[in-house]
């Protein structure tokens, strides 16, 4: 302990105390932007990936929002339905993915629950942050739309103002709905089941958002030739984006009766959701926070049983495949996290959802072509390579990354067996099931199996794709903090794989039509084996990289 004479230089004087409400809002915003945990040594060099990602996201959203230019000279209602539908999808995905961590964080209970703040104040502060960030995202996406609406067929200078108000309403509706779902789940199922339930719900929301945004419009166009939005249609009242579009149309568009009705419905729905989520059911949040402290006690009462995956690794073919005990242990660890860990599941499955959509789109375009098509099938096969690549890249990150120190403490010269275990878990639990799904998709969408062999070039290349993220021993599962996830690098590798897939598909189709497809498969197999052996040798030689 220091003597008083060693007192450090005085800290700069500051103003009066912030109110607890403002303090909490500032705290949660800081935590949101910086991430919950950090291993950065200094404040300046701390990983600000979430914050920088947010800035990048805003730019990306603003660029994406420029698609609104296609609605130039269109009616306000059509533009607004588009803007609100896309905003709802984006915000829904964002709030659903963030709400669990923001609303219920176990560490936070130990830090804040014994302080003189009410659970309601905590809830309000968190909702404030979620809404604030939602509004940034919504604002960025709608930026172009604000101006497009001015020049709309029935638009005018009032559009930016009414659209800003309706977007705020929509953000509140969206945040309120997600919080309400959490609270209802808490009330009906309890905190213990909430995690699993919400993870599943969030994965479905992400998949549904992609399907709704990419697949449904294509199906509708295929069925009816075009999609017509009309405020007077009976079914449009069932779609929340139409309520908020009705608001825009009522104040800044045609102002017809059905628009006013939709606007009224939107206002009422938002008010009811906010009242239920932040008023009526706020008490459930308090209960949820309290139960968070009790979770460990409850969990201990669960019946202990042998996991199915433990059984699986001891019977063929996995027993033959996982002979090395370290590979087997890494396989089991990865499998457990793929099935159980909320954080990992929320990163992997919504990340893979768009993967399912791209081959579907290509197959749809392939369908009914006079030349018999086939590119979509070949592309689907090649595109499979993205699954292990993306999954292994995402599996490196975990909230429990510090526990991976035990890998370094174990008597292993390098991380190769850990990478192999993770790679094989990803192959068995993600790649193979999706391979079957893609095969079924090809068969169902084309109604014939003549072109199924076109999947083979992609399938043969799979072992190479799965080894790429492991090179240099970089795919050690759960060994890096979430904040270090580099989405830009991931995006580049995805683009790379997509280009290779397109090239491979083109080559496969050429070989197919030229009658030398078998030779292509033979040459590819030889090349893959050679590369595979080389990459495995390189991975075996990889040593632990020094810790920071």
């Amino acid at each position: 302990m220091n003597a008083p004479s060693d007192t450090p230089p005085p800290l700069q004087a500051a103003g009066p105390a912030l109110s607890p409400g403002r303090t909490l809002r500032r705290l949660f915003l800081t935590l949101f932007l910086r991430g919950r945990s950090s291993r950065g040594l200094r404040k300046e060099s701390a990983p600000k990936s979430v914050g920088s990602k947010l800035a990048l996201a805003l730019v990306f959203y603003a660029l994406f929002g420029m698609f609104a230019l296609f609605f130039l000279q269109q009616p306000v209602f059509a533009l607004s339905v588009y803007l609100h539908a896309m905003t709802l999808v984006f915000l829904g995905m964002f709030v659903a993915a963030s709400a669990g961590e923001v609303l219920f964080n176990k560490d936070e209970a130990d830090i804040l629950m014994h302080r003189p703040v009410t659970p309601r104040a905590l809830l309000w502060a968190k909702i404030g942050v979620l809404t604030e960030v939602s509004l940034w995202l919504a604002g960025a996406f709608n930026l172009t739309g604000f101006f497009v609406g001015i020049g709309g067929k029935d638009g005018g200078w009032l559009f930016p103002i009414t659209h800003a108000i309706s977007t705020i309403m929509e953000a509140l509706f969206c945040t309120g709905t997600v919080v309400l779902v959490y609270q209802l789940c808490l009330r009906w199922f309890g905190r213990e089941r909430l995690d699993g339930l919400m993870t599943t719900a969030q994965v479905f929301v992400a998949v549904a958002a992609v399907v709704a945004g990419q697949v449904v419009p294509r199906l509708l166009i295929r069925i009816s030739g075009t999609i017509k939005f009309n405020a007077g249609s009976w079914w449009i009242g069932l779609l929340p984006p139409a309520w908020f579009a009705g608001f825009d149309d009522a104040f800044a568009g045609r102002g017809i009766r059905s628009s006013w009705e939709l606007a009224g419905f939107g206002l009422a729905a938002t008010a009811v959701v906010l009242w239920l989520a932040f008023g009526k059911l706020a008490r459930d949040y308090e209960t949820g926070l309290q139960t968070l402290n009790e979770a460990s006690a409850i969990r201990s009462q669960r019946r202990a049983g042998r996991r199915w995956v433990d059984v699986l690794v001891h019977v063929p073919p996995l027993r033959w495949w996982l002979r090395d005990p370290v590979v087997r242990a890494s396989f089991l660890l990865t499998a457990a996290y793929l099935v159980r860990d909320r954080d990992v599941k929320l990163r992997i499955y919504p990340g893979l959802a768009p993967m399912l959509v791209m081959p579907f789109i290509f197959l749809m375009q392939d369908h009914g072509r006079s030349d018999g098509g086939g590119f979509g099938v070949a592309f689907t096969g090649g595109y499979l390579g993205l699954i292990p690549l993306l999954a292994l890249n995402l599996l490196k990150y975990s909230q429990q990354w510090q526990a991976s120190d035990m890998f370094r403490a174990a008597p292993m010269p390098g991380p190769a067996p850990l990478c192999h275990g993770a790679r094989q878990a990803v192959c068995w639990f993600l790649t193979f099931p999706l391979l079957v799904l893609f095969g079924l998709m090809v068969w169902l969408l084309r109604g014939e199996n003549l072109h199924l062999p076109l999947l083979l070039p992609g399938i043969i290349a799979l072992p190479i794709y799965a080894l790429i993220p492991c090179l240099g021993g970089k795919a050690v599962p759960l060994s890096l903090p979430n904040e270090e996830a580099k989405s830009a690098a991931r995006g580049l590798s995805m683009i790379g794989v997509m280009l290779v897939s397109i090239a491979l598909s083109g080559l496969a189709l050429w070989a197919w039509s030229g009658g030398w497809f078998k030779w292509l498969l033979l040459v590819e197999t030889v090349l893959v084996i050679a590369f595979y052996v080389g990459m495995r040798l390189s991975l075996a030689a990889a040593r632990w990289r020094p810790l920071e």
Binding site: M1, P8, T23, L27, A46
Partner: protein, 256 residues
């Protein structure tokens, strides 16, 4: 200062704390002991308003835990066993955030933090520049202790406070809580390091399976049971008398 009246906590069919009743006057340091799973942390979490009792209640500084939880929280400081902090804040940001929650003006908070920096031998630059995620366990524990005492609470609960502290910091900390108690603060000290408890505490309360086993001055209890040390008394009461023999037997299994 602290009064528990049949405080009970049930998790489903399991009773973690079973009708616990005792009183702690001002200025006393109470060692709150029990084996793993005895209900110590659950009791402390109830007394700090983190979880709600299933039955019974407690008053702290005259405020009822169930009826006036915020008044209770304003008067207690708590060092949880987990030592959890927001890792992406700097030490200073974290402590200022805590101070604001107790409505301590920023000037006063910074002056108080300054005193703790000096006492705990923390580097000023570390506190202002480094994120808590990069702190050593001991440094993090010092920040957590500072956060518990920042608002000068009359009642302080410590759950394994020495975990991670080096020998010098531990000595200083023990002297600090003894001085705080002499100045009228009530201190509840939960720990498994029984020789420290024996030296520091005026009184010990031992619980097991959520029930009160023993309550009294450490020297008197040790003398009355003829065990020589508090550690032996603890193992005798909580079924650990066979531990040494079991440890020897187990150690033999490591022979090559």
């Amino acid at each position: 200062m602290i009064s528990l009246q049949h405080l009970t906590k049930r998790f489903g069919a399991q009773t973690a704390v079973d009708s616990l009743s005792f009183e702690v006057p001002a200025g006393q340091i109470v060692g709150f002991l029990g084996p793993n799973g005895a209900g110590k942390s659950t009791t402390l979490k109830m007394l700090t308003g983190m979880i709600e009792p299933s039955q019974g209640t407690a008053t702290i500084c005259g405020f009822d835990l169930r009826r006036e939880p915020l008044e209770v929280k304003r008067r207690v400081g708590f060092v949880p066993e987990s030592g959890a902090v927001f890792e992406s804040l700097t030490g200073l940001e974290y402590l200022e955030m805590v101070a604001a929650l107790y409505a301590i003006p920023q000037d006063a908070a910074r002056a108080r933090i300054q005193q703790f920096i000096a006492f705990f031998d923390l580097s000023f630059e570390t506190l202002t520049d480094k994120l808590l995620g990069a702190y050593s366990k001991g440094m993090r524990r010092k920040v957590v202790i500072t956060a518990a005492l920042l608002h000068n609470p009359p009642v302080v609960f410590f759950d394994e406070p020495l975990d991670g502290l080096d020998a010098n910091a531990a000595v200083g900390f023990k002297a600090l809580i003894q001085t705080l108690a002499r100045e009228g603060k009530t201190i509840v000290y939960s720990s498994h390091i029984l020789d420290v408890v024996e030296r520091v505490c005026d009184r010990v309360i031992i619980i097991d399976k959520g029930k009160l086993l023993l309550d009294g001055r450490p020297d008197e209890l040790v003398a009355a049971h003829g065990t020589g040390t508090l550690e032996r008394l603890f193992t005798k009461l909580t079924g650990g008398s066979e531990l040494e023999r079991r440890a020897e037997d187990f150690a033999k299994t490591f022979r090559p």
